[in-house]
Amino acid sequence: MVQRIRLRYTKRGRLRFTSHRDFQRALERALRRSAVPMAYSAGFSPHPRISFANAAPTGSASEAEYVELALSAPRDPEQLRAQLDESLPTGLDVIDAVEVRTPNFVERLEASVWELRLDGVAPEAAAAAVAAFLAAESVEVQRQTKNGIRSFDARGAVVALQVVESQVVAGATGLPESSTDIAAGRACAILRLVVRHATPAVRPDDVLSGLRVTADLALPVPAGVTRLAQGPLDEESGTVTDPFAPDRGAAPALPSEAAEPQPA
């Protein structure tokens, strides 16, 4: 292994139904198709060395998934990004790349920003539910796990929750039939959620359960959930910053268009 590269990728449109396992296989094949010089693990059955961080649940879209590759020969991160993006299906798009110069990447992913589209819910109703949720000290919710139903607090990990205008750019989904177009005349509330990565993990679904528990907010159709960002959490402002910044900062001054700063 001579180089490590971190990538940011998306799960957009209908490919948000890709499970994490599905993505792993798709990535390995894309790496083969684009002849990326992967480093392999040692042993009887060598595997390319790929580490994933904190994947979004199946069915949730994401603009901010992260993966790290170990290479056997150096590559320009931006070139590799473009090559790999070309090899993956539209919707699984590789949108940023950086050479690894700092350790402990996973620890850096302290929080996520989510957008929740609640089709058929009036923004006023959503705002009232959000207010009730935020006013609560703790909100006990339940989730079905492999080991049965589990109860935990969904309030503590929530840093911010508000009703906003949509930030998911129309057309960013890559596929025409995705449901980003808000049906004319239909009520639709958009929530912006900032949630700290904690144990047990609080997922957007859990927050929605919390809204149902605290304010009886019912969804006529399943929520459209998109992760907008992951990264270090600025506790003061409640914002999430670019997790690649330390790598970019530590990098020698290479002229690279890929290194433009990410708005958090």
């Binding site: 890709t18 296989r25 090899s87």
Partner: protein, 656 residues
């Protein structure tokens, strides 16, 4: 007129179902064409779950062959699991294609590929979800032509009521011929001529070519005892017998060129190349070997090009060299070595899914495992005793097997899997119990060669189902109880052996699914009512143990056969005689029925038949009937290394 995508409505259901990715399409190398720019549109279905259907070579080939044509469009659809079916019914979402999520009913042809009869109930589910009437007689000119292909279509009679047409044999040219007929009929404004309805007109144009079977143009007459009297065309101009399609030069059809790469996990994740089609080994139980004759090899260079192109298009890490008996390709050694050399650095593994003991050699095995893992070796002696192997014409001796196994153990393999059948014609308990002896001998040899005790041998066994167009088409099938009793005796013989029992794994399939498969395989049109009754009672996914219900089939049979004088046993465990008109006699596989009968008689006499690739013709009838001949090498050509390889770190190490 554009057809609306059902995806927005489907999307709302997907968060509530298992593995939603299987319904969204968007696979690498999939194709979505402009609906209005095409005048003939095909919906292709493999009537099983996506994870089984997607890797199916037949569908993949036809999908590409059709989509390559100007003005022709093909999309794929698979069986939806019951969780989604329920939601689709509640929300009135119709059966859809995964490519552009168009409703199946909007297509010109709804073509289903049946590798096995156990997909019949899934066809009915799909038709019903699509809003297409289940029976051909109730459809209108606005419904697609419901077409069956695949090996099971060699006897389409049990599903005759549900089909508009069936194709027997190779599909590549057949789908293009059918496309042209439909295109011409549509260009004329979908007419009905000479008193025929428009729908009958297009079906008639297909039927009169002699290459498409349209069940509604044939009437089945029954004798008082329940047997078939004869099958007669009901209108003039359609032939008495329908012929099978045979593609002669495989190198002209290098499909799939760009295999589909799914995001969802599927049963086979590899780049498959069919290295030859057909088999003349003459195993009497093997329907595939009988109906796909003659042998036609793809050239070594054609194989090399397909592998190269396919790997680049897919990124798969395994190449499957497919055929009915892959080690029988005349140049298999050069193919395996050539490919292993080419892809040594890319860690691309090779696999030969069907390998005969007698065609296997250790050099070949070493080439196959050079770039990948050395897991286990699998062989299919099929019968436990020398006698029963003569009956089925699987001419593999136990000495061959032991010799091969010894070489394999000597070269580092530690596990051998053996496949067998129970319930073969003339079989006794003794024949089956011989399997235990064979397994013990394999382990004894392994211990002797390696000096180690931890040698494994797995015996896998299932019930034999007699199939149409084989010498065993007249044979009685062994009943459920007898099959199960025999399998249990074998299990006890293996388990009770103190010296070897613990090293022998035993996997068996009980006799119940086999009887239903037997009913569907050798059934006639009267079986259709049973299939429909099973479907209406909730029967789905009959190839899946967790869904299959024997009791449901038996209840439906009681209902469906009421008043006919026939029953499940009549179709399965009854032996047929020479004179009997078989339900599939009017579908011509090229095999001479008298030759099949003689081979059946030879079988009972334990007389073997050679392979016509290496001995003179034994007149099975296919070559003269189809105006074809065997096409085999060797060509003497070798696979050259692919040039301009990226110099990897450490240099190109060809060290052997």
């Amino acid at each position: 007129m554009p057809v609306e995508s059902v995806f927005p409505r489907l999307e709302a259901l997907l968060p509530h179902v298992q593995k939603p990715i299987q319904y969204v399409g968007g696979e690498l190398n999939s194709t979505v064409k402009d609906w209005d720019a095409c005048d003939v549109r095909w919906a292709l279905m493999y009537p099983d779950a996506y994870e089984v259907g997607l890797p199916n070579q037949g569908v993949m080939i036809l999908y590409e062959v059709l989509n390559e044509r100007e003005g022709v469009l093909a999309e794929r659809t698979y069986s939806v699991w019951p969780d989604l079916e329920k939601l689709m019914r509640e929300q009135q979402v119709p059966q859809f294609t995964v490519d552009a999520h168009r409703p199946v009913k909007a297509f010109d042809v709804f073509g289903l590929s049946f590798s096995t009869e156990l997909g019949y109930t899934n066809m009915l589910t799909a038709l019903d979800l699509a809003g297409i009437p289940l029976e051909s007689k109730d459809r209108t000119v606005d419904d697609p032509i419901v077409l069956a292909g695949g090996h099971a279509a060699f006897n389409p009679e049990p599903i005759a009521d549900f089909l508009d047409a069936a194709v027997v044999g190779d599909g590549e040219q057949a789908v293009l011929d059918m496309t042209e007929i439909i295109r011409a009929w549509k260009a004329e404004g979908r007419p009905g001529l000479d008193g025929r309805s428009p729908r009958d007109e297009v079906l008639f144009r297909l039927a009169r070519t002699g290459g498409f079977y349209v069940p509604r143009f044939y009437d089945v007459e029954y004798l008082p005892d329940g047997r078939i009297g004869r099958v007669v065309p009901t209108i003039s101009g359609v032939p008495w017998r329908v012929s099978k399609h045979t593609v002669m030069d495989l190198d002209e059809w290098p499909y799939p060129k760009q295999p589909l790469v799914p995001l969802a996990e599927t049963v086979h994740e590899r780049m498959s190349v069919e290295i030859f089609r057909g088999c003349t080994r003459g195993c009497r139980f093997c329907q595939a070997g009988m109906i796909t004759r003659p042998v036609r090899e793809r050239s070594i260079t054609g194989i090399g090009e397909m592998v190269d192109r396919g790997l680049k298009a897919t990124g798969f890490e395994e190449v499957g060299l497919l055929s009915l008996s892959s080690a029988d390709h005349t140049e298999i050694a050069d193919i395996a070595k050539g490919l292993a050399d080419r892809y040594e650095e890319d860690k691309v593994g090779l696999s030969l899914p069907s390998t005969r003991v007698d065609a296997f050699n250790i050099d070949l095995a070493n080439e196959l495992t050079r770039n990948g893992r050395r897991s286990g070796l699998t062989f299919a002696p099929e019968g436990g005793s020398e006698r029963i192997r003569k009956v089925i014409n699987k001419m593999v001796s136990e000495e061959d097997l032991i010799r091969t196994v010894a070489a394999a153990y000597g070269n580092g393999w530690r596990q051998v899997k053996l496949y067998f059948m129970a319930g073969l014609p003339t079989e006794t308990d003794e024949d089956v119990l011989q399997i235990a002896e064979m397994a013990k001998n394999v382990i004894a040899k392994g211990r002797e060669v390696t000096g180690q005790n931890d040698i494994r041998c797995t015996v896998s066994i299932g019930g034999f189902v007699p199939k149409p167009h084989t010498p065993f088409q007249w044979a009685p099938q062994l009943g459920v109880e007898e099959t199960d009793a025999r399998l249990l005796k074998l299990r006890d013989a293996i388990r009770n052996d103190r010296k070897y029992g613990r090293n022998i794994g035993y996997r068996y399939h009980d006799g119940k699914p086999g009887i239903v498969e037997g009913l569907l395989s050798r059934g006639d049109r009267r079986v259709g009512a049973v299939i429909r009754a099973v479907y209406e009672d909730g029967g789905r996914f009959d190839g899946w143990r967790e869904y299959f219900s024997y009791d449901r089939w038996m209840r439906a049979a009681e209902k469906g056969f009421a008043g006919t004088g026939v029953d499940v046993a009549w179709y399965t465990t009854r032996e047929r005689q020479y004179e009997e008109v078989l339900p599939w006699d009017h579908l011509d596989s090229g095999l001479d029925k008298d030759w099949l009968w003689e081979d059946w008689q030879d079988s009972l006499e334990e007389v073997e038949v050679d392979d016509c690739r290496w001995t003179p013709c034994f007149d099975c009838g296919v070559c003269p009937q189809m105006d074809t001949q065997i096409q085999i090498g060797p060509t003497g050509v070798k696979l050259l290394p692919l040039t301009v390889k990226q110099p990897a770190a450490g240099g190109a190490a060809h060290n052997h």
